[in-house]
Subunit: 336 residues, 2 copies
Amino acid sequence: MHRLRKPYLLFLGDVQDKLTAKTAFGLKDWCADDVVGEWSLPGCGVTLGLPRLSPQQAAARGAGSIIVGIAPTGGTLPAHWVAELAAAADAGLDVVSGLHTRLTSFPELVQAASRRNVRLIDVRHGERNYGAASGRKRSGKRVLTVGTDCALGKKYTALALAKNLKARGIDASFRATGQTGIMISGEGIAIDAVIADFIAGAAEHLSPDNAADHWDVIEGQGSLYHPAYAGVTLGLLHGSQPDAIVLCHDPSRQTIDEHPDFPIPGLRVAIDDYLRAGRLTNRAMRCVGLSINTSSLSDAECAEYFQRVTAELGLPVCDPVRTGVDVLAAALLAAP
Amino acid sequence: MHRLRKPYLLFLGDVQDKLTAKTAFGLKDWCADDVVGEWSLPGCGVTLGLPRLSPQQAAARGAGSIIVGIAPTGGTLPAHWVAELAAAADAGLDVVSGLHTRLTSFPELVQAASRRNVRLIDVRHGERNYGAASGRKRSGKRVLTVGTDCALGKKYTALALAKNLKARGIDASFRATGQTGIMISGEGIAIDAVIADFIAGAAEHLSPDNAADHWDVIEGQGSLYHPAYAGVTLGLLHGSQPDAIVLCHDPSRQTIDEHPDFPIPGLRVAIDDYLRAGRLTNRAMRCVGLSINTSSLSDAECAEYFQRVTAELGLPVCDPVRTGVDVLAAALLAAP
């Protein structure tokens, strides 16, 4: 399990557009209290609007880590960023990256980290051996976000739901399963990077026994309908043993992203498939509602769509960005 | 992908019972033509009935590898075997193991292998990064063995089916996904040891495009009903894109092995679940028959059971050990 040292200094390199810096924007949105400032190279075209601090200045203000908040094309770390990250290590900061390129592949960084006894943390990689799942029922309550596809709001929905529950005074924890989620939370397991035999075991490890009224809100990954990633999705579902699922969907997609031969099923079918699969490890599992990414719809279209889905499924429907997740939290807390 | 150097010398260490040496017996059964002899330490209580050859003698007869054909409790390599394996490396043999303990963790072995430029191959571990599955339909035909549980005959059934097809003059390949299968075949991928994101990708790699009338007979892993391993099973199913599945079952089991809270479903339900899940990547997938481990049944019980299952499902039923797999091969080769 990754455990990061907060607060953070967010590093933007010299990127030119907000989309490439979306991890940094996500951190600013979801854990602003854990961020002391931003830092970038000359020529960077993006700012988060945060105080500009050098690694030395950030360290002086108590920062624990510098975060590479960038997802450049190909996922590789540009070589000309390395000297700046080595300087951050020399200033006493842990260096955290979610890129494919491992920080430990740069001798200059390894030496700097060794000199100051700080850590180089590749949240995409991490530990891989968790042991096989036991299937044992754990105490406490769990909700998992699942999806008709990848990249349509499972992380956002889980973060919004955990925040909403806490605001109601409910004891709740966001459980991160992907790199950005881990950075936001400060801990978690990159579930798609563990050894195949231990997917469900890692998921069990991520949400251990807890108080009877505590809710773990677990970030989903992949989709049962994705030709490459359904195994990860199923293992996470089984190990999480969720009492409840929230189905995430984007009505503008007819097929799986980048896989035009793979149609996305209807919502009723998807809910039934997830429940049938998930009830292997929690027979009481239910679907408490839908989280819809309505960014492609007008207000009128969205209202019409929500009305239609509610009528068809008899379940609460929301868009975390447009409407918030109050209806999901209420459904979760209602007696089953 | 592991690729081993045949023929083999089978090493038995100093084990006392056949069960612990079951990998060696499996190799003798399934690839006898690729085995030059056996070797063991003083006090060993097991023999395969093969010529007893020292590593030097085996090398002189053209052996390419010494195989640790043992699965001791805990999966660790006893330290007092290491000197003998180092001597085998010094004799010019690759050293191959399916144990958890990595051969490369013994400096004495690493040095010997380096001296003679031979390989230390841990088939349980192997490569882990295969890239994500594309979902693209491949040429050639594929059959995958699937199961209601682990360890009930998926490997044996696949081996028997590949052998039967070849005896009929059909162009067929056994595709190994576990350590013993890899040793028998001489190549394959330990599918449960790859990174979670790449399960289906590894399965695609294992059975590439082939001639239109070629059959890949793919060794299944795990079970959709196993709380720990269903993710591996699903990823292998998706990446294999099988045209046909054979369901393997042991009627003496009511629940998943070592998981008494997890009931094994009925055969009709299991077939439907596998077909529903597998049709994501091959909509024409069908179940061609059942392979039943009837070791717990008398002849009369077996006949009665087969009659009942055939009547219920309308599919051919066999036990590879008791009856052979002719009916499965015939069903596979029948139209469509």
